[in-house]
């Protein structure tokens, strides 16, 4: 069974033809060409595949493509661009929040979700926001520091959105 699913990915309308129970993660990494979201555990435990679905962080390994008709997905590629990183991405690099990189896309999505609703989070609030994202390299301290630094940078620029300055666009375009 093949379904034709139209959804918005990183601000652009995209159509995917695939079996409807294809995991959103596989649709993103395959036909949509967005390999930012990673498969860690494949059962909703690790958060490496986190994306925003209608603005809410979800595990893309637990969402069926057929459930995404008409919905809006933002992946880590939608947060910034290699030559124009979002403050969150830049801070993650500067503060050592990214090491092996497997958890980083999910961490960035979880942090993006937090900063959209809380411009001045405490360290505890950051830890709660990334509670569903496992990292086996950093011990989390540097990730928390990165998110707090990004929050501060964003407040300083008084940007209207967390991804201020970074055009939101699909990387496959």
């Amino acid at each position: 069974m093949i379904a034709k699913v139209t959804l918005t990915v990183n601000g652009a309308a995209r159509t995917v033809e695939a079996p409807p129970l294809t995991r959103l993660l596989d649709a993103l990494r395959g036909p949509l060409g967005l390999t930012g979201a990673k498969e860690g555990c494949g059962e909703g435990e690790c958060g490496s595949c986190a994306v925003l679905l209608d603005g809410v962080p979800v595990n893309a390994c637990l969402v069926a493509l057929g459930q995404c008709e008409g919905r809006e997905v933002v992946t880590v590629e939608g947060l910034g661009e290699p030559r124009h990183l979002a403050p969150l991405q830049a801070c993650m690099a500067e503060h050592g929040g990214a090491q092996c990189g497997i958890c980083t896309p999910g961490m960035l999505i979880a942090a993006e979700s937090l900063l959209r609703s809380n411009a001045q989070p405490s360290a505890v609030e950051v830890r709660r926001a990334i509670a569903g994202n496992l990292c086996r390299c950093t011990g989390y301290d540097r990730i928390v520091a990165s998110v707090l630094a990004a929050a501060e940078a964003l407040r300083a620029t008084r940007g209207a959105s967390v991804s201020a300055g970074a055009p939101v666009r699909g990387a496959a375009e």
Binding site: P19, G42, G44, G66, A129, A131, L134
Partner: protein, 295 residues
């Protein structure tokens, strides 16, 4: 892993509850299986991790955006929680926070934010795992499960809903549409404690939810729900009988421990041992009684 199975499943999206009831009923009548897919936190993980299956696969029907299942309503006496409302939606809803604060609080202990954004009470009730935090907390409100089918609506007390390990009294063609809670007055005491290996992304070794009402020092209402200590969410009837109509300050702790032990049947499994669970269950009930005594 058998992610390969997922693309083989037939899939449909329900447009309305009426349409869904007809579809599920017709398939039941012809002996065909149907899976209702809400947040996918159980189903998608289970299929991905299971060996490849032979033979006909059930039809998967997406109910995640069915409007009839998503509403949360307070009518002044009853809080009606849509079975398809996500834990995140429950936690953020003003009526849940005011009238069922235990449910709002418990949600932050379920998995992590990404699981809370997808998981639903309806899904946890249907899966009927005794380890579900959401069901333990819900049970403390002594709620009613609302079921819909082509025959109309049927309401089942929570105490009669779960009949065994992952078994319920729901007929195959019935759909869980909502859960109705008649809460005690705002400000009534409630208690939640989950014991797991970590604060997040850990299924409970034991969890206890409790909702009470007191007249002076006398306990006039007490609902209990305990996770992971038996084949179904434990409602602890003997413990409850010992405490209701008495004062939490006059409880005989040896009797209390004995009542808890008689109410549960914890086992050794991947997450804990029966002996540890029994110890923790007694400690959690003692903690509840202490907190009620100190009000």
């Amino acid at each position: 892993m058998s992610v390969v199975d997922l693309p083989r499943y037939p899939f449909a999206r329900a447009g309305s509850l009426g349409e869904l009831c007809s579809l599920v009923h017709e398939r039941c009548a012809s002996g065909e299986r149907t899976v209702l897919l809400a947040g996918g936190t159980d189903f998608m993980a289970e299929v991905s991790q299971s060996p490849r299956r032979d033979g006909p696969l059930p039809l998967v029907v997406d109910i995640s955006r069915l409007p009839e299942l998503g509403a949360i309503e307070w009518d002044g006496r009853t809080l009606r929680l849509g079975a398809g409302a996500t834990y995140r939606e429950l936690a953020e809803h003003h009526a849940v926070r005011e009238h069922a604060p235990l449910i709002a609080r418990m949600t932050s202990d379920i998995g992590g934010p990404t699981i809370q954004a997808r998981g639903t009470l309806g899904g946890n009730l249907a899966t009927a795992s005794p380890a579900a935090d959401g069901v333990a907390a819900l049970a403390a409100y002594e709620p009613t499960v609302v079921l819909a089918s082509v025959r109309g609506e049927r309401k089942v007390r929570m105490a009669d809903f779960h009949t065994g390990y992952k078994r319920t009294s729901r007929a195959d063609d019935e759909i869980i549409t909502a859960i109705e809670v008649a809460p005690p007055p705002p400000g009534s005491p409630w208690h939640w404690r989950k014991v797991g290996t970590r604060q997040a992304q850990a299924i409970a070794k034991v969890a206890l939810g409790a909702v009470a009402a007191l007249d002076g020092t006398r306990i006039t209402r007490l609902g209990l729900g305990m996770a992971s200590v038996g084949p179904t969410t434990a409602l602890l009837p003997k413990t409850r009988a010992l405490l209701v109509d008495g004062s939490p300050r006059d409880v005989d702790l040896a009797q209390l421990d004995a009542a808890v032990a008689a109410d549960i049947s914890p086992i050794d499994d991947i997450r804990s041992t029966g002996a540890y669970r029994l110890h923790v269950a007694k400690a959690l009930v003692r903690e509840l009684v202490r907190s009620l005594a100190n009000l």
